[in-house]
Structures are given as C-alpha cells and as structure tokens.
C-alpha cells in the first residue's frame, strides 16, 4: 500500500467481505477504527512484519477485541500474512477468531472481554521504561469499554509511573451495545476525566489521517490519551451511527452497495 488512505479503503472493503461471508457481527465497530489502524501500522509504529517478535518493536494492544476483522485485514495488508487468509475469518478450525486472538501474526495480546488491554499495555510500558527502551506501547480502547473499572485502575498506575511511552487511543464513536454511551452510563466530560487522572489528552478526528499522524507522533512526558472521535460504521453511509450494525452482518445487497460506494471513494 502506498499510503494509509489507500490502506484504510482496502481494509474497509475486506471488513465488509469478511463479516458478510462469515455472517458475523461487529462490522460497525470494525469500520470505525480502520483509519486508526491504518495510520498506526502504516505510518507510526516501529513494526516490521518480517520480524514480528523483534524485541524493540512497538506494541499495539487491541483492547476492543471485537474489531478483529479490521485488525486482521490491516495486518494482512501490511504484510504480516497473506491477504488470501482473510477468507478464513470465522470459519471452522480457522486461526482468525471472532475476537482478537494471538496466533495470528502481528497480534500481541488476546482480547474480547473488555477492560483487559490497558493494564497489559501498562505492564508492557513499565517493562520498556525499566529497560531504558524507546519502544512505545499503543492501546486501542472502545468508549463503551471505559465502563470497566480495570481501565481506570490501570490509568491511575500509568500516570503514577509517568509512562511517556504509553498511548491509549479511545475509539470515541459514542455508541455502545444498546444505545449511546451518554444514555448508558455517561462518560462526558471524558477529556477532563483523563486529565484528572494525570494523562495528556488530545482530541482528534479519528478518521483524519493527517491529524492522527500528528498527535500519534508527538513525543510526550507521561502517558497520553488520544480521544479519537469516530463514526461507528464509518465509510458505509447506511451503517453510520446505527447500533444495528454492532450486531448485524451485511446481506448480499448490503455488501454490493457498500463495496460500490467504497470503490467510488477510492477512485476520487
């Protein structure tokens, strides 16, 4: 892929094909973080698919494990494994599980239950700090996931240890399992909460690659929380901002319509 925009458009089409053929859920949750993955894997993280176990690699921890389709498609397109393997997503006996799981090249940590990724990332960042290593740790969290107390336990610890190598990215699409985050258990004022916990906080358009690159490149003292404002189902107009697409896989017609729109966008 020559650039991150091309990567994200391609990954979106694969996410749709994967969830359609597997008839599995979480298409909306996958589409909304595609741009974050594209920027991280294409432009930011020090990761070499040829050396996935390199000790000084940056670590990307995907705490919102239900966006597995987006992660797997990104990993395949940046060279961790053949793109043809994506056809095995959620098929009998496949290593491509419906939630992010190790065993897939490039996956650092298995998730699927929310609230597990940030503590793991804090452990990884503490190790880097004590090793005097420059390697960075990124953790992608969903906003609904912030209901979990373990996130805030880890947030306290990260700030206490001033973990400059740690960046938490909140996929702030505003929707969770049944309705909006604010109608469920209100998160706002969210930036103020992270600030009060001692984190640097930056709010960005989570679909704007240039903005994402700018904030993710920032050298920091202390941990940074990037609140990436996103749209659930981004890139497929009829899926955008609809809780329905947290669960429903695309039908044949949905797929054809969505792919046409994304192909059109790619040609723009």
């Amino acid at each position: 892929m020559s650039n991150s925009l091309e990567l994200s458009n391609t990954v979106r089409r694969d996410v749709l094909r994967m969830t359609h053929s597997a008839r599995k859920s979480h298409v909306g949750s996958s589409l909304c973080c595609v741009d974050i993955f594209a920027v991280l894997y294409h432009s930011i993280a020090n990761i070499d698919p040829k050396e996935p176990e390199a000790e000084d690699r940056d670590r990307i921890v995907v705490s919102k494990g239900h966006c597995a389709a987006a992660l797997y498609a990104t990993l395949a397109h940046v060279g961790f494994f053949p793109v043809s393997k994506l056809a095995e997503y959620c098929t009998n006996g496949s290593p491509l599980f419906g939630h992010v799981t190790v065993g897939v090249p490039g996956v650092e940590f298995s998730t699927g239950s929310l609230g597990h990724g940030l503590p793991f990332a804090v452990g990884s960042a503490i190790a880097a700090s004590r090793d005097d290593s420059d390697r960075r740790t990124f953790a992608l969290l969903s906003d609904g996931e912030l209901d979990e107390g373990s996130v805030w336990e880890a947030a306290l610890l990260a700030a206490h240890h001033g973990l400059g190598g740690l960046t938490a990215i909140i996929d702030r699409n505003g929707l969770q399992s049944l309705t909006t985050t604010e109608a469920t258990v209100a998160l706002e004022p969210l930036a103020a909460k992270w600030e009060a916990f001692g984190w640097n906080v930056v709010t960005v358009d989570g679909h704007n690659h240039e903005e994402l690159k700018r904030v993710l490149e920032l050298p920091t003292t202390g941990p940074t929380c990037v609140i990436a404002e996103t749209i659930k189902g981004k890139g497929v107009e009829f899926m955008e901002n609809q809780v329905l697409w947290h669960y429903q896989p695309p039908s044949d017609d949905d797929l054809a319509k969505a792919i046409r729109a994304l192909e059109h966008e790619a040609q723009q």
């Binding site: 298995s110 239950s113 503590p119 452990g123 990884s124 960042a125 503490i126 880890a154």
Partner: protein, 305 residues
Amino acid sequence: MRKTFIATLLDEARRDPSIMLLTGDLGFNVIEEFAEELPSQFLNCGVAEQSMIGVAAGLAASGRRVFVYSIANFPTFRCLEQIRNDVAYHRHNVTIVSVGAGFAYGFDGYSHFGLEDLAVMRAIPGIDVICPADPLEAELITRMILKNDGPSYLRLRKEGEEIFHAEAPQFSRGDAIRLRSGSDLTIAATGTVVSLALEAHDRLADMGIDVEVLSVPFLRPLSPDCVKASIGRGLVTVEEHSVNGGLGSAVLDAVIACGEVPHLRKVGTPAATPSDIGESGYMWQSAGLTTEAVIEAVQSLLKPS
C-alpha cells in the same frame, strides 16, 4: 511461610534481574527488604487486582518472570478473568501468590477465608496449582517454579507453620512427598493440615492400623502416586479447603480417569458458607477439620462392606 517465600524469591531475584515482585498493596513487614534492595524489580500496583494481573501479563510478555502477591481471594476471585484470559491463555510466566490459605486470617471473617481458591484455579487450564505444607516445601517449590515456564498458582499460609520434614525432601514438580510409610491405607494431605494426617497416623498406629501419609503440594500436575495409592486400597484426602473441587476432587477425578472405582473419603471444610471466626485451631474444629475426622474417614474405609 510468607517470609520464607519472600526470602527465597529475593535470593533468586538478586541473581536474575528478570524476576519481578508485584503486590496489590499488601505484605507489610514482609516485602520491604525486597522492595528496598531491588526497586527496579518491585512494583506496588495499588489496591487494584484486576489491573495488577493485566500488568503482570504485560511485563511477562516483555520477558519478565512475575510473582504477584496478595491475600486469599484478592489475587484470585477478584481478578479471575484476568488470570484466565491474560495469564493462563497466553501461558505467561506469572505466578499468583496467595497468602492466607484456608483460615489463616481466621478472625477476619468470610471475606478473608481462602476456601474455594483451589477449586477455581483447578478449573482454569494450564496453571500449576500448588499448596506447600510448610516453609521448607514453600522454599523448594519457589525455586522449582522458576525452572518451569508457564503460569502457577502458589497458595501459602501465613506465619509460624510447623516444619514437617526432618531434612529437605527430594521431589520434582508434580510429585507427592511420602512422610510416613504404611500398608493399610493412604492419607494424602495438602497444605498445613498435613499435621492432622500425621497425628491421625500416630493414633491409628496405636490402634494397629498402618497408614501411609503423603504431602501433596501439587494439585496440578497431580502425582500419579496419589492415584496409585487409591487403587486397590482406600485413600483419605485432607485439605483446608472446601470439599468441593480441591484436593479430594482432583484425586477422585484422576482415579476415575484411570478407569478405577475410587475408595476415597474427603476431609475438608464443608461446602456451606462458614459463619464463624476464630484462631485457626478453633476454625478447624468449627469446620470439622480435625484429626478425629481423618481417623473416622480411615476407619470407614477399612470396615468390611
């Protein structure tokens, strides 16, 4: 037992900088020397067990050998899913050390009784489940854990435990340790209640009954000796733990898996919730965890049916 554990870990950690000790803000008067001497290998995660286990997994994924220290139910039940998913599923080098087995915190009430932890840990695949009987076993097992890759659960009592071994026993990971030989029947005990098995042994000897006594520190992997002992003759298990799911159940499962009919009686704490407090000896009595109960179990197996 907890001081022996920390002293052993400190001794090993001086030579191996990958060893880390994490605490959930517990270990007053126990962990200070480690924390002061090796600050880069120590981390107090605060009163936050779920986060602590995740942090331990993250450290282990970065090449550390992590020991997580807390009391009874805090590093087990409070963060069970983190143990299952973040540690065991990934086979990380994390040892969960739970101090206060059984009624060690007998006056502190049900929140502090460790009575179901072995059952729960046994249900999670891939974790060694270990309950040393005395400080000497605790020391040898701590060194053994460091030679073995993968997750472990180390269940310690607290302080002032009697030592049952005249000299350091020779045993490997998974072995039971024979404390007394005997031909009529076997009593297999785990943890400090080995004392009840030894007392029962002596009193039964006076009655002309010759029982073997095993200390069984490893519930997983489980010594084939325990299973062998129960084949063809009776076996009594003794544990400071619910009769549901602990040593007795582990032995029973292993015997059945061999296609044998078990001749087994379990002595442990009742499956019901205790509503009492007291020092250990009182609590053992209160729970029916007594030498008399062990003797009765032996006699019931020896009676011709």
